[in-house]
Amino acid sequence: MRPNRLLASSTFRYALVYVAMFGVSVVGILAFVYWEAVGVVSGQTDETIRNEIASLAEHYQERGLGQLISVIAERSGNRFGQRGIYLLADPEYRPLAGNIDAWPTVARGEPGWVDFLIGTEAGPRPTRQLARAHTFVLPGGFRMLVGRDTTERTELRSLITEALLGALALTTFLAIAGGVVMSRNLLRRIDTINRGSQAILAGDFRRRMPLKGNDDEFDQLAANLNRMLERIEQLMAGMHNVANDIAHDLRSPISRLRSRLEVTLLSPQDAATYRTALEETIRETEDILATFNAILDIALAESGALRNEFDDFDLAALIADVAEFYAPVAEEKGSTVTVDAPTPLAIRGNRHLLSQALANLIDNAVKYGGGRGPIELTLRREGTAAVVAVGDRGPGIPEDLRDKALRRFVRLEASRHTPGSGLGLALVAAVAQLHDAELRLEDNEPGLRVVLRLPVTSAAPVRKTKVVRPPVVKKTG
């Protein structure tokens, strides 16, 4: 990854924000510690000074100036660890005793707390030090200064400052390193997706995004992209199919039509012959249109464009309606249509297409199973699925041909002599797909049973409409 890419990446920018937030927190915490510690140390210094003054004042009061001078001299002895500053001076500020050699100018005038600089011998490195002292006037006009140099405080401050800077540097380093590592990893995955998209755009439509398998957001993104690609591929295949179907199934009847007309025109005919030819032609065009419409219906169902046209309805009522519609036709063939759909079952879907699919199934059952026993429709709820089955007692479809039967324009050998475009089951398959339903052809022993498993909506219950059902013939045995 190029550095400028890294800098431009949003992840890295987030990392920087984290660094800043961390830094501010660390500085805040350390500053608090610093002020507290310095405050404690200053408080202690002042306290010590006050105690010394109290004890020196006591000496003075009890034993007089001489004793005070000797105590001061003793205390001024530069003993290790002592940072005391003492000075006793006459009213003109001339030093009498103590361990600094002159009364600081800032400390002249009103007695009280004073901060001033001194050259100190104390500590490892003699430097000019800030000292803090309290001055007061003894009875008799003598002036007294008691103080402490602030080496401790300075040391503490530098210690804390170092700690603070160190912590800040460490935090910054860790945050930046973490940010870089994190953003590298994330960017690498986004890069993979980007590269994949570019490859697909460049025409490699079969390519898919790799998945890590940990189901994180990136995996979900990749999976969604893959699903989108599947869908697009399906739609493209659908378009391709429509084009092929039209070429395959419409070309020959249109050529037949044309030939018929040309042959009619070859030799002079009487009006009746012309009329017959024209009527034939119209019939032919109607077949072509029926096929054409079927192709379009299938394409529309397959495209999924109708998903926003879904509404909730009672599947049991729909089945009863279609069954009732076909019952007389079945009876003409010597069969009955029985419906076993005991309870209303709400599903969400396209009512028209489902009616049409069901009509195709019953139509097939009548066509192939008519006169060979009942055509049985059942509706059952199985968990979250509504299972519709249409069974007949016809010849059925051998297992190895069942997949083939669902394809377009497939007329299985056994059905060559029956009318139909060969699109009936293909439409059912497309409608099933539109409704996320599973379609299976099974052996009805004997005959064919077509089973459609539709997802049930947990939507609001369907308004109860009075459904007129054909008389249900009870199955025996």
Binding site: T285, L306, E309, D321, F325, V329, H352, S355, Q356, A359
Partner: protein, 225 residues
């Protein structure tokens, strides 16, 4: 009976005008939406046949504009947009019927007849009569020459539709749409079987049949001459 045809395709409009003319209608033609709207507003027609895909405008908009002006001339949409949802849009926009191109001319003619001779105030009717056949819509009873004829609910609706359009030709598609609300071609003679069952019930024991098959078009329920 005057019909306005709003259709941009010269040839299609020509066939329509010729066919309707031969059936005894007077036909005016408009080739664009605005022209059609202007003619519909200024002239008085018994029926408007409107194409949907007009140059630069959907025929739906023309009809919507017409309805906004309070004009309730019956409108028949002709369109190559044949999906159910398109049909629903057409009817919502104020169309009275919707026919998908390409159509059989007999189908168009039957629908034109029905639209033009639409009786007003039909909703208030409680009894339909054709010759000696009577349908009491409130009691859901059908009698012929005083004898009650028991009908299944769907047969009742089928007969009701035929009786409401007595004397007119009713096509199989019209029955499919209005009695069953199906919008697909069943490919088999389902409608014929239903009609012949109804015929069994209302005509069988009587000398003069009321329910007739019209070759190449559909059915017609009419009183004997």
């Amino acid at each position: 009976m005057r019909i306005l045809v709003i259709e941009d395709d010269e040839a299609a409009a020509g066939y329509l005008a010729k066919g309707l003319g031969e059936s005894g209608y007077v036909v005016d033609r408009a080739a664009t939406g605005p022209d059609g709207l202007a003619m519909a507003v200024t002239e008085s027609y018994d029926l408007i046949i409107a194409d949907r895909m007009l140059p630069g405008i959907d025929g739906l908009l023309v009809v919507e504009a017409l309805r906004k002006k309070g004009d309730d001339t019956p409108v028949l949409f002709l369109s190559a947009l044949g999906q159910v949802d398109e049909r629903v849009r057409g009817l919502k926009a104020g169309g009275d019927d919707y026919l998908v191109k390409p159509y059989a001319f007999a189908e168009l003619l039957a629908r034109v007849e029905v639209l033009i001779r639409r009786k007003s105030g039909r909703a208030e009717e409680t009894v339909l009569k054709v010759a000696d056949l009577e349908m009491d819509l409130l009691a859901r009873r059908v009698t012929r020459a005083g004898t009650e004829i028991p009908l299944q609910p769907r047969e009742f609706r089928l007969l009701e539709y035929l009786m409401r359009h007595a004397g007119q030709v009713v096509t199989r598609t019209m029955l499919l749409e209005h009695v069953w609300d199906y919008h697909f071609d069943p490919q088999t003679n389902v409608i014929d079987v239903h009609v012949s069952r109804l015929r069994q019930k209302i005509d069988k024991t009587f000398t003069s049949p009321l329910l007739h098959t019209v070759r190449g078009a559909g059915y017609s329920l009419r009183a004997p001459e």
